[in-house]
């Protein structure tokens, strides 16, 4: 099934998402980790290396896809189990592809690509970040980024059979509770 999993920082999203993707993989079928992060500096390198270490032994094939998410269908078997971590990084790459340039159509591009992926692939876990509950005023660009990510989340929530919220290690099912519980 298709699952959207969101939550705050360090809420246990990645771990739960990996468990779900692994549980959805069929006997002998492919298990894909769609890596969306483009490294900008040493800190990112470390984070990527840590995530790779955490995935070791799970049987994931890593597919680098920092942009054009629909393109994974050309190189991957749609019958495989996909884990896409994360929509947040994907949007950053699509919206700010290079210094001094902003693509305000990024959300629409991603929604179109995701719609294709979610229609053609059987089992997909999407990870996003819940960045909507702080008492702060951001610059217009950051605000546009938050709004775009929320648009993507909401479109994905409609297309997914389960929508989950990670809360410090626990999972709240906002949609598809029974189906989600049957996976694990």
């Amino acid at each position: 099934m298709k699952i959207l999993l969101s939550g705050g920082c360090k809420s246990g999203k990645s771990y739960h998402a990996q468990r779900l993707a692994k549980a959805q993989a069929r006997q002998g079928g492919a298990l894909y980790y769609v890596a969306t992060m483009k490294s900008a500096d040493g800190e990112d390198d470390e984070r990527i290396a840590r995530h790779r270490r955490e995935r070791e032994g799970w049987g994931f094939v890593t597919v680098e896809r920092p942009a054009d998410i629909g393109g994974i269908l050309e190189s991957c078997d749609p019958g495989g189990s996909f884990l896409l971590d994360s929509l947040t990084a994907l949007l950053a790459n699509e919206m700010f592809p290079r210094q001094g340039f902003v693509d305000h159509g990024a959300a629409a591009t991603i929604i179109a690509g995701l719609t294709r992926v979610l229609k053609e692939a059987d089992d997909v876990v999407l990870v996003s970040d819940f960045i909507y509950s702080d008492a702060a005023f951001y610059d217009p660009l950051t605000e546009a980024y938050r709004k775009s990510l929320a648009e993507i989340d909401r479109a994905a929530a409609e297309l997914c059979g389960a929508v989950l919220e990670a809360a410090f290690g626990s999972i709240i099912a906002h949609k598809g509770k029974a189906a989600y519980e049957a996976i694990l």
Partner: protein, 125 residues
């Protein structure tokens, strides 16, 4: 009173429009004014009014009691701003606390409380 809350851009107003079949004229949108919101079937963006009260040095708890008495039949929508980092700015810290207290007060006076997450409503009261 029905209270709808959730993070920014989670589909709170879209949910209210859907459920109550609202026209634009049914919606009172809070702005930068500290004046008491009233008269809409739906009062949207209550966190903005609370911020205006904080800026005006008003007694927010008092104002909330008056607000509740005048809007018994309204649907009230408020952003949940209780999640992020504690703001470095003192006014925003005050706002965050006032909004949390106000939301708790509104929820306790409401017949129904709904939280929106990625466009999905959950009835929590």
């Amino acid at each position: 009173m029905i209270f709808i809350f959730g993070g920014a851009y989670q589909g709170k107003l879209a949910y209210a429009r859907d459920r109550f079949g609202l026209a634009d004229s049914d919606i009172y949108r809070c702005g930068e004014s500290a004046e008491m919101p009233e008269g809409g079937k739906v009062i949207c963006g209550l966190e903005k009014w609370i911020l205006a009260l904080v800026y005006a040095n008003a007694d927010v708890e008092d104002e909330m009691q008056r607000f509740i008495r005048r809007n018994e039949e309204a649907v009230v929508i408020c952003d949940d701003i209780s999640g992020g980092v504690v703001p470095a700015d003192a006014t925003l810290r005050k706002w965050r606390e006032a909004a949390g207290k106000a939301a708790t007060e509104l929820a306790s006076h409401s017949d129904e409380v709904i939280r929106l997450f990625c466009g999905i409503p959950t009835r929590i009261k």
